[in-house]
């Protein structure tokens, strides 16, 4: 439900159209460009610098190149099944994102959606691996499943910690428990929430198979095996689904732990006095996106400087380190809320 804009259905549609077409969908190009520039600087290279001003059009050049690449084989029904799962994962990642206090699909279950999209994405990767009918694909598919299951448990427990703090799982409830300033963010309300925050974001990387924890989805046959044969449009679809999964998970992390879209109260009061609700919505959205991009770039930065782990090391880490920490955070958060807060 999109509520509170007050200027009618058409204006809501226009705002969403503007946000999705000009910000959310092109964000893949922006982050890809930042990723390549940042990685290049870290690696004593220049990075993209020829296509457009400072190489800014490079992602679009890549997009066109991938779209026009001819595939070595035709789409089979197995490809279609996989493709529909990937498309479903992209849709689930993007369709119901919490974009601000007025731009929400807010139900009791909305905040569980990232888990759904991540699991669909994993199922798509599993099918992709099995479709290959090769040893590498088969091993890769099994690795994806092992990796995702190991990451989902601690992520879910960490997610429950936030629910204990806020008293529910509606987006508005999760956001309204936090303020503009960092000390009012959920992750800093107690040491247990800080642990939950770290567990949640690391588990997200494991579930989605993102660097530096991509392991099973690495584009090398012997490490990953799932995506080593992809090229052209198939590769594009896979990469986009992973990117939007990353965007979605980072945004949800910001909403759960890092102050969501909360602006300074004084500013909101002034804007509301001016009845500029659309402006409030847009400012909330851009503030949320800024924090999301910072989280994503921080992850990319850490990923660039570290070697990759093996899948079994990752699953070990998730079960033996993240899960116990998540359980401690859950118990600690429950005790904290019952004894300290009340």
């Amino acid at each position: 439900m999109i509520a509170g804009l007050g200027t009618g259905f058409l204006s809501n549609i226009l705002i969403l159209f503007f946000i999705y077409s000009l910000v959310l969908l092109p964000s893949a190009a922006l982050i890809s460009y930042c990723d390549r520039k940042l990685s290049a600087r870290l690696q004593a290279r220049v990075g993209p610098h020829r296509t457009g001003f400072l190489g800014m059009l490079q992602p679009f050049a890549d997009l066109l190149k991938l779209l026009q690449k001819r595939s070595a084989w035709d789409w089979s029904w197995e490809d279609s099944v996989w493709g529909s799962f990937q498309a479903m994962a992209v849709y689930a990642s993007l369709a119901a994102l919490p974009l601000g206090s007025a731009l929400l699909m807010d139900t009791e279950m909305s905040s569980f959606l990232p888990f759904f999209s991540a699991l669909v994405l994993a199922l798509g990767s599993l099918l992709l691996g099995l479709n290959q009918a090769t040893i590498a694909g088969w091993l890769g598919g099994i690795r994806v499943v092992g990796q995702v299951f190991s990451g989902v448990f601690p992520a879910f427990i960490a997610f429950l910690c936030v629910g204990i703090h806020t008293g529910g799982f509606r987006w508005k409830l999760l956001a309204s428990a936090q303020g503009f300033y960092p000390w009012s963010w959920t992750c800093l309300t107690s040491p247990f929430q800080l642990i939950a925050f770290l567990v949640f974001i690391i588990s997200g990387l494991i579930i989605l198979g993102l660097p530096p924890l991509e392991g099973s989805q690495f584009p090398s046959e012997i490490d990953g095996g799932v995506v080593s044969h992809l090229s052209g449009r198939r590769w594009l679809l896979f990469q986009l689904s992973k990117f939007y999964g990353f965007l979605s998970w980072s945004m949800v992390t910001v909403v759960l732990f890092l102050g969501a879209w909360s602006l300074p109260d004084a500013l909101v009061q002034v804007l509301e006095a001016m009845e500029a609700k659309i402006l409030v919505s847009l400012m909330e959205f851009f503030w949320l996106m800024s924090k999301t991009f910072v989280v994503m770039l921080a992850v990319i930065w850490i990923a660039s400087a570290n070697p990759r782990s093996r899948v079994d090391q990752m699953t070990d880490f998730a079960w033996r380190v993240l899960s116990p920490f998540a359980l401690v955070a859950l118990m600690g958060a429950a005790l904290w809320e019952s004894w300290v807060v009340f």
Binding site: A44, S220, I222, D223, P307, R308, Q313
Partner: protein, 372 residues
């Protein structure tokens, strides 16, 4: 093995992203664990030894360059030394120093290439680019001195092709200082990086009995505790005048002879090579760079020689027979990578297939010298 499941046969190669060079690996897997590994080589066979027997003595040198393209000087050097031993030829001290400088620079280049392959297998792109950047600087130096970056063709029987270019020694000194500075970075990125340790500790342990049984030499043997280096044990080129240490694996973090030890030993060897280079630069003698009268050698007296040197990968031997004619009668190399390749199947057993590229890269197998 899981009951009811048969072994999985997996053929990798001859060209595969996880392989450092053309070869075929026939794996038997128990799910993800390697039960058996067979190696098939010969995809880079060039017939170097046979071709050398059909060429003139000086022309044969060019083929010795291609024994190990990553550190070409060692092939040239061992062939040159074998010829000089048959002829009983002493080379001028200045030429000896130039040869040692080139050998140590090549050792650093080869070890950097080794580290690049390790970084690639653990997918650490930052380290990879740093290493390649430093390697380029040394290749520039080769170009400055010899005009070539890889196949140098710079040595001659009785010395070297030309004298050192102006400014060469100063730039070698810069490289030495650079190696010491970079060593801290490499330590941070490799030795002190927890993620890297997780991948390399206790992995691919090369047991001492395998070292002896398969004839493993060089840094791989030293990483397994054998303090044996031709430069010290059988000094032929003037290394006896220099003060340097032989790094040996300790297994202090994992097991003696694991992948981590092999990386650490090579890192330490690079530092030692930089020290050797500094000492050489301080004492470079003046004088001739080529023994007079040997610039255009037509024939070598009848005789036989076996010479060995410490190349970057291990002990490189050359057995040379001359019948007094204008070309060699028999040339046979004993490359170190053969031993490393022989021990590889034993190291693979029980490994996860994900670790296979890392263990393979850690042995630093130069397939060009195996197939030759």
């Amino acid at each position: 093995m899981i009951e009811g499941l048969e072994w999985i046969d997996w053929k990798l190669g001859p060209y595969h992203a996880c392989l450092p060079a053309p070869m075929v690996l026939r794996l038997k897997l128990n799910v993800d664990t390697i039960v058996q590994c067979e190696v098939e080589t010969g995809f880079l066979y060039k017939g170097i030894e046979k071709i050398m027997e059909t060429r003139s003595w000086q022309a044969a040198m060019v083929y010795a360059d291609h024994l190990d393209p990553e550190a070409a000087i060692f092939g040239e050097l061992v062939f040159c030394m074998a010829v000089e031993e048959i002829m009983g030829l002493c080379i001028p001290p200045r030429a000896q120093f130039v040869r040692m400088i080139l050998a140590e620079l090549s050792r650093i280049v080869s070890h950097l290439a080794f580290l690049v392959r390790i970084a690639k297998t653990v997918h650490s792109e930052v380290i990879l680019h740093y290493l390649l950047r430093d390697r380029e600087k040394i290749l520039d130096l080769f170009e400055l001195l010899t005009g070539a970056r890889f196949s140098l063709n710079f040595l001659r029987f009785g010395g070297v092709c030309t004298d050192m270019t102006e400014g060469f020694l100063e730039r070698v000194l810069e490289i030495c200082d650079n190696v010491h500075i970079r060593m801290r970075e490499y330590n941070d990125l490799f030795i002190f990086n927890d993620r890297f340790l997780n991948r390399t500790l206790c992995l691919g342990v090369l047991k001492p009995e395998w070292v002896l049984g398969c004839g493993v030499t060089g840094p791989n043997a030293r990483a397994s505790g054998f303090s044996w280096d031709v430069r010290k044990q059988n000094a032929l080129m003037g290394y006896e005048m220099l003060d340097f240490a032989i790094p040996v694996g300790t297994g202090i973090r994992g097991f003696l002879g694991d992948v981590h030890d092999r990386v650490v030993v090579r890192l330490e060897e690079m530092a030692q090579s930089a020290e050797i280079l500094k000492q050489l630069i301080e004492t470079v003698p003046s004088g001739e760079y080529l023994q007079e009268g040997y610039a255009h050698l037509k024939s070598v007296p009848a005789g036989e020689a076996y010479v060995r040197i410490e190349s970057a990968r291990g002990v490189l031997g050359c057995h040379l027979v001359s019948d007094g004619s204008s070309s060699p009668l028999r040339v046979h190399f004993r490359p170190p990578s053969v031993g490393h390749l022989m021990v590889f199947p034993a190291l693979c057993e029980g490994l996860s297939s994900e670790d296979l590229p890392l263990v393979l890269a850690s042995l630093d197998i130069g397939i060009a010298e195996v197939d030759r």
